[in-house]
Every structure is written in structure tokens, then in C-alpha cells.
């Protein structure tokens, strides 16, 4: 409800909408291959296991 010229006006009804938002767990969980430049044992892990390079 909004005030206009002293009168309360009804807002137009908008039906609820469902929006799907991708969480991408393979990116949100730390410890997956992040990028090809990781050094040391972890970098080796990413290279050998064939993970995609996901850093962009």
C-alpha cells in the first residue's frame, strides 16, 4: 500500500516467481582444482587427475 494524495492505493498484485540459481558445488567447495598454476603437491594433483581448469 502506498500513499498518494492522501489516499491509500493498492499495489498491483505480482504472483510469486521461482528463480533457479545454480550453486555449482564443484566450484563452491574449496579444494577442487582451481587453476593450472597451483604449485606443489596440489598442482600435481590437478594435472594428473585431469580436472578442468576452472579459474576464469
Amino acid at each position: 500500500m502506498t500513499e498518494k494524495n492522501g489516499r491509500r492505493e493498492k499495489r498491483t498484485y505480482e504472483p510469486p516467481k521461482v528463480t533457479v540459481i545454480s550453486l555449482r558445488p564443484e566450484e563452491a567447495v574449496l579444494g577442487h582444482c582451481k587453476n593450472a598454476s597451483a604449485s606443489g603437491p596440489v598442482g600435481g594433483s590437478c594435472a594428473v587427475s585431469g580436472c578442468n581448469v576452472i579459474g576464469s
Binding site: 574449496l30 579444494g31 582444482c33 582451481k34 587453476n35 600435481g44 579459474g55 576464469s56
Partner: protein
């Protein structure tokens, strides 16, 4: 680079402990270890070292001859390098890589608030890689993000830069959204400091939103320890023209959460992360930024007003 001694916290013959510090996202982390330890800072972390006697997180590093996998069922399995278990009043993280060893090459014992961490390095597994960085990914990120998850901040998937004229800009995006591309375009067009092309930490200070650079860079390999105040957040989307679409707060919070790195093993930490993001979207407007990957995108953002 070998770890530099900034302060000796203990000198017990024959073991002498050295202490060194990094600060990431405004969180200081002190590393205490045997001075003769075969360790080094990674190139990325070198830019985040500081001289400090106070630390938010105290990490003690110990070499052990070998580690066996932690017995019991994990409370969370990352599906990749680490699993977390619940120990006696503490959390236990086992970090394992098949290319290093079939047993954990590192183990972290942490207080629930992540203010104190004991880090064990498996000598048998890591010897071939020496000198090693005790905080090598994902250790550093796990510790910092879990510490922040007390409602102090959140790490997000995005590139952050400081333009000499228009100030701080944050562009969030999943992999492939154009974070590194955006970084490179801005660098070619403007005088900018790149805080990271992949991961940024958000904090709130005195009712203002701030972003911090992290060592955890992306393809373009930009990482620096600066920070900047944010007045808005952009979520990158590919487009055939440059266009800004305002997001409702609920939508914005959900989009930010989908591009953040919360500790999934803790319901309480997830709740505080969502509450923090709610605070973020109440402080600054968030926009979907459909962009063309050329200099016109820089011009569009530079001239943008809420």
C-alpha cells in the same frame, strides 16, 4: 623464498621456533614452526606477508614422520583434496592427494572458532616436494574462510580491481563468466590495481562494504593485498550489448551465495554467511551486468550511476 623470522616466540634448545605472518582479507595469520623446517612461502603468498606480533589466527606447524587416514566418518567430504572430521572439541581436516600419497600429506586440528590451528606435515609424503609451503592451497583458504564464517566476512568468486579514477569495482562470476577477460580488458584500458582475477574477500567495516585481494588468483594470475570500498556489485553475464539490470535484494543475496565459498560442513557457519550476505545487499545495490568483452564494457561501467 624461505620463511623469514619476524619474532622468536620460543627458544628451547635444540628446537627453536620461528614465527612469520601473512594478512589476507584483513585477517592476520601467524605461522610458528621449527626454524630449520623445510618450508617456504609460495610466490602468491609472498605478497601478503606482514610484520605483526598480534595474529587473529595462530598456526603451529609440526613435521611428523607419517600420517594415517583419520578413523571415522567425515562430517563433510569435499570430493577432492580434503575431508573434515569432528575430533574431541575440535575439527580435523585431512588433506590427501593421490599424486602425493595414499595417506594424508597434511592434517589440520582446529579450534571451532579457527583462532588456533595445529598443522601436521607428513614428512614421508612431502619430502620429495621440499621445501613446501605449509599454507599451500587449499590450507590457507580453508583456514581463512572458516575464520570469516563467524559473520566476519565471506570469500566470493569474482575479480576485483581499483581504478585510479572511478575506485573499486567487483565483478562476480562462475567459471567461464568472464572474470579474467574483464580483468585483462580493464588492465589494457585503465590505470588499475588488480586485487584478484578470481577470488575476493568481502568485509563490512563501520557500515561500509570493503573488498580485499587474495593470493588465490585465476587464469590471468593477478593477486595483490590491497583493499577498496565498494559502492555496488556486478554479476557478470555474457551479452550482445552492455546492459545493467537491477536485482532485488533477495535475488542478489542468492546470486552472491551461489558465487561464494561458505563452509558447507557447518550449519551455523552457513547461517552466518547468509546473514552476512543479507547485510551486503542491504549496503550496496547489485546488478546483473550483461557485457560485451571489449573496451566498451569498461566505458559502460566507468560511466555507470546507480
Amino acid at each position: 623464498m624461505l620463511l623469514e623470522t619476524t619474532a622468536n616466540i620460543e627458544s628451547t634448545w635444540p628446537l627453536r621456533l620461528c614465527r612469520s605472518c601473512v594478512r589476507i582479507g584483513g585477517v592476520s595469520l601467524a605461522l610458528s614452526q621449527e626454524c630449520a623446517g623445510q618450508t617456504r612461502w609460495s610466490d602468491a603468498l609472498s605478497g601478503f606477508t606482514v610484520e605483526s606480533r598480534h595474529a587473529d589466527i595462530e598456526v603451529t606447524v609440526e613435521w611428523v614422520d607419517r600420517l594415517r587416514a583419520w578413523a571415522g566418518r567425515p562430517v563433510f567430504d569435499s570430493g577432492a583434496l580434503w575431508k573434515v572430521f569432528r575430533g574431541a572439541g575440535e575439527l580435523v581436516f585431512d588433506i590427501t592427494s593421490s599424486t602425493v600419497s595414499d595417506v594424508p600429506y597434511k592434517r589440520l586440528f582446529s579450534a571451532p572458532d579457527f583462532s588456533a590451528v595445529r598443522l601436521l606435515l607428513n614428512r614421508q609424503a612431502l619430502q620429495p616436494f621440499a621445501p613446501v609451503d605449509p599454507l599451500e592451497y587449499p590450507t590457507d583458504e580453508l583456514v581463512i574462510t572458516n575464520y570469516l564464517a563467524r559473520g566476519l566476512g565471506v570469500e566470493v568468486h569474482g575479480c576485483g580491481l581499483i581504478d585510479s579514477e572511478s575506485g573499486g569495482h567487483l565483478f562476480l562470476g562462475h567459471s567461464g563468466a568472464g572474470k579474467s577477460t574483464t580483468t585483462r580488458i580493464w588492465q589494457s584500458q585503465r590505470a588499475v590495481q588488480i586485487l584478484s582475477d578470481d577470488r575476493i574477500i568481502l568485509r563490512v567495516h563501520n557500515g561500509e562494504l570493503w573488498m580485499y585481494g587474495t593470493p588465490w588468483h585465476g587464469e590471468a594470475a593477478f593477486a595483490s593485498a590491497g583493499r577498496a570500498r565498494l559502492r555496488r556489485i556486478f554479476v557478470l553475464e555474457h551479452g550482445d550489448k552492455n546492459q545493467f539490470i537491477t536485482m532485488a535484494k533477495a535475488r542478489a543475496a542468492a546470486e552472491l551465495f551461489a558465487r561464494s565459498f561458505p563452509p558447507f560442513h557447518s550449519g551455523a557457519a552457513l547461517t552466518r554467511t547468509v546473514e552476512f550476505l543479507e547485510q551486503v545487499v542491504s549496503l550496496v545495490p547489485c546488478y546483473q551486468f550483461y557485457f560485451v568483452p571489449d573496451r566498451s564494457a569498461v566505458k559502460a561501467v566507468s560511466g555507470f550511476h546507480d
